[in-house]
């Protein structure tokens, strides 16, 4: 006999309006009686309606995993299973998408077929860490669902105290502002550390994010323990003929108001002949003028990445953004990429050995001081790491001369 659907008057209100409705999607799954997930979705809708009535959540965690891995499954057991038995287990599989979130329709259709057979048919594209979230699976079906996903080339993402699934922007694939090969960096760094994702043994989570330029489209500075942001060291590229065309098109006033005046370091000026005067030594690579004049301006040619570390959200010491650890790492040759991978590995090792339980790397750095962290990782200090030198006099400076010597030696060694 067909299982009856629950009345969902509150959720029904979310079926109207111009934006695509997730409730309609859930109902389509609940009504597809041919599919094994239909009854689960009927009760899922019932429990969700109950949450809307009482304004409470009714899921609790637990332990579910697949053979060979310690993480990646988010177990959900219902606290109101007596009323909604078919969705008593509603686990999620976090699965890593292809870098840059590119899909063939074949891959998406295969994912749908697998999830319709073993799960609820509900897929979130994507979670905030960049996972494909296959939502709604019984404990028994987690293994067969994962086996089939794994057979088509997909792999589990991260959960718990582990390396987490990473994200990279569209970058090289479709963006002229991209300053490095994001796909390569993303895949090499993460795939080189995969054991830390699949067998959680870190003090807490660790996230990498890869943005091709300082527009930071994957929100790396706010959200990543290690943010890898594309940038350049030489002069910005300027096509003066295109600058003139832009001025002719929008007018001098608009050009000055929206480009020259908005430069944060007053590095731009409009010449009398409508070409652009750029003070590249003052430019901070913020991207604004390049964003406005996409045809006339582009990043320089000596490209690489800035690495910032320590970004995280509230728990427990408050919000933190990542701060500069490596102002510039050249990222072009195989050797350059190898250096990035090695640095990532060193950071993970340092984190594993030195962070307290439930402490993010930004909190560790705060606790021990940035200078000690840099020393441990053998990274030379650089004025780009601070907004300004210290203002507090409470510091011992008896080895100042030795430190100053290091600075001048480093400067000599890295002089072009």
């Amino acid at each position: 006999m067909t299982k009856k659907s629950h009345d969902t008057p509150l959720l029904d209100e979310l079926k109207s309006g111009p934006w695509p409705s997730f409730v309609e999607g859930l109902e389509r799954l609940a009504k597809d009686e041919e599919k094994p997930g239909a009854d689960m979705m009927k009760d899922l809708l019932g429990q969700l309606e109950h949450s809307y009535e009482t304004r409470r959540g009714y899921w609790k965690g637990g332990t579910v995993s697949v053979f060979g891995y310690g993480g990646g499954v988010i177990p959900r057991f219902s606290e109101v299973a007596a009323d909604y038995p078919e969705s008593s287990e509603f686990h999620t599989l976090r699965v890593q998408p292809p870098a840059g979130m590119h899909y063939s329709t074949k891959l998406l259709r295969d994912m749908c077929d697998i999830w319709e057979e073993h799960g609820s048919g509900l897929i979130a594209l994507h979670g905030q860490s960049g996972d494909i979230m296959f939502q709604g699976c019984t404990t028994d079906n987690v293994q067969p669902a994962f086996d089939d996903l794994n057979k088509i080339g997909l792999d589990m993402g991260g959960a718990g105290p582990a390396l987490r699934t990473s994200m990279s922007c569209v970058g090289h694939a479709r963006c002229e502002q991209s300053c490095y090969d994001e796909v390569r960096a993303h895949r090499e760094v993460i795939n080189g550390l995969l054991d830390e994702m699949h067998r959680p043994a870190l003090p807490y989570k660790f996230k990498f994010k890869f943005s091709g330029c300082p527009n930071d489209c994957v929100n790396a500075i706010h959200r990543a323990d290690m943010a890898v942001i594309g940038t350049w060291r030489d002069d910005m590229q300027v096509d003066q003929e295109e600058v003139k065309k832009h001025v002719a098109k929008v007018g001098r006033k608009q050009m000055i108001d929206t480009v020259v005046s908005m430069c944060p370091t007053r590095a731009l000026s409009l010449n009398d002949d409508d070409t652009l005067d750029v003070d590249d030594k003052s430019c901070v690579r913020c991207m604004h003028c390049i964003n406005v004049m996409t045809k006339a301006l582009s990043p320089g040619k000596d490209r690489g990445v800035t690495i910032l570390m320590g970004g995280k959200r509230s728990l427990k010491i408050g919000d933190q953004m990542g701060t500069v650890i490596h102002p510039f790492l050249k990222l072009e040759t195989d050797e350059d990429y190898e250096k990035l991978n090695e640095f990532a590995e060193e950071c993970i090792d340092f984190f594993a050995e030195n962070a307290l339980e439930h402490e993010r790397i930004g909190e560790t750095i705060d606790r021990i001081g940035l200078a000690n962290f840099l020393e441990a990782l053998d990274v030379p200090v650089d004025p780009n790491m601070v907004n300004h030198p210290r203002t507090s006099s409470y510091v011992r400076t008896d080895d100042w001369d030795i430190e100053a010597e290091k600075w001048f030696e480093h400067k000599k060694a890295t002089a072009k």
Partner: protein, 359 residues
């Protein structure tokens, strides 16, 4: 062990190689793009150094998608975009077309199928959000429902580029704020200390870990009714809910005490100004499912003021930086209260140590 019941060992693929799944024009011109423009809202036009061109049509989705919705997107990609598509970090689907001619019919077909086209340039893009009541184990509110309600109201702003600059919205269903920073963020804000079920604490919670989790050291071990439990110093408690995930018997949500707050001026990008955190501008809004009208009204008011008053390319936070907070509260008719004066670590840096004032 019997081979027949031995589970399959996983192939540790790691992050999949995207090139087999990438549109051929994108693959051919990987790392070789020259410039771009936007012929209309929802469409990006990229030109490669070698002369290849690609038109991307961006469509909003509900993120939490049934297989039917995903297959519909696939049908459209097969018909208009050579069998490929990609997703943005804000869950918009992107279809790559090799000619401008294909974009018109694709947009029509997307609209026909219920997917709004937009989210590019100076528009309000899709809200980055969390799981909420649908799947999270510690939610104070729903996520998909709040987003659906708001995007219904902001449909015009998604499909048009009429804002001074891009607007990024986020929602989060607890104070951990998985939704992240935004020009406008709608986040749960608890207003009462946890209600403790002392019968369950000893069995469910690792008590020292819970004590350690509290940001203000308000939790201590205690014997209650002869059982080991935890107690909260309610005068110290800041109602953040940090104790609730590691100890579910410390219920932080209440029928009427889980509220919503609105924050503004967060920014990820480094363009012009450095990245910023969002700031609290309204709190104590009711958790009014299924459509949260009180929240939507304030979000729309803030957007309206920004749209009317900001200069081109100013992000919401940069606009406020220029006009000052006094003027912001005046234009939006929102209250400035003592609760908006920060008192957490580093708070002094948010105080005005100058004679620079806005009147």
């Amino acid at each position: 062990m019997n081979d027949a019941v031995m589970p399959r060992r996983p192939d540790e693929h790691g992050v999949p190689d995207p090139f087999p799944y990438m549109h051929p024009t994108l693959k051919d011109n990987y790392g070789n793009w020259a410039w771009h423009d936007r012929p209309r809202p929802g469409v990006l036009h990229h030109v490669a150094h070698g002369g290849d061109e690609i038109w991307t049509v961006r469509a909003g989705t509900q993120r939490q998608m049934d297989v039917g919705t995903i297959r519909k997107l696939c049908d459209l990609a097969d018909e208009y975009a050579d069998g490929f598509l990609r997703f943005t970090t804000r869950s918009n689907a992107e279809f790559m077309c090799t000619t401008l001619d294909k974009t018109g019919p694709l947009i029509e077909a997307l609209n026909e199928a219920g997917f709004p086209v937009g989210g590019t340039g100076n528009s309000v893009s899709m809200i980055s959000h969390t799981q909420g009541w649908l799947h999270c184990d510690i939610p104070g509110t729903d996520a998909s429902g709040v987003v659906k309600s708001l995007m219904d109201e902001l449909h015009h702003e998604f499909t048009h580029e009429e804002m001074p600059n891009r607007v990024r919205l986020t929602t989060s269903c607890c104070q951990i704020n998985c939704g992240g920073q935004g020009d406008i963020a709608i986040n749960v804000q608890y207003t009462k200390p946890p209600k403790i079920n002392h019968d369950l604490v000893a069995n469910v919670c690792e008590r020292p870990a819970v004590v350690a989790r509290c940001p203000v050291a308000a939790i201590r071990p205690a014997q209650v009714n002869g059982k080991p439990s935890l107690e909260v110093d309610e005068k110290k408690c800041i109602c953040c809910g940090a104790c609730y995930p590691p100890c579910p018997p410390m219920q932080i949500n209440g029928d009427d005490s889980t509220k919503l707050a609105i924050w503004v001026g967060g920014k990820h990008s480094n363009a012009r100004s450095k990245p910023t955190f969002h700031k609290l501008v309204a709190a104590n809004l009711p958790n009014n499912a299924p459509r949260w009208p009180e929240v939507a009204a304030i979000v729309k008011r803030i957007l309206q003021a920004y749209k009317e008053d900001a200069q081109a390319w100013e992000r919401l936070g940069e606009w406020i930086e220029r006009i000052g907070w006094s003027r912001f509260f005046e234009l939006t008719d929102l209250a400035f209260t003592k609760h908006q004066i920060d008192d957490w670590t580093g708070a002094r840096q948010s105080l005005n140590a100058s004679a620079h004032l806005h009147f």
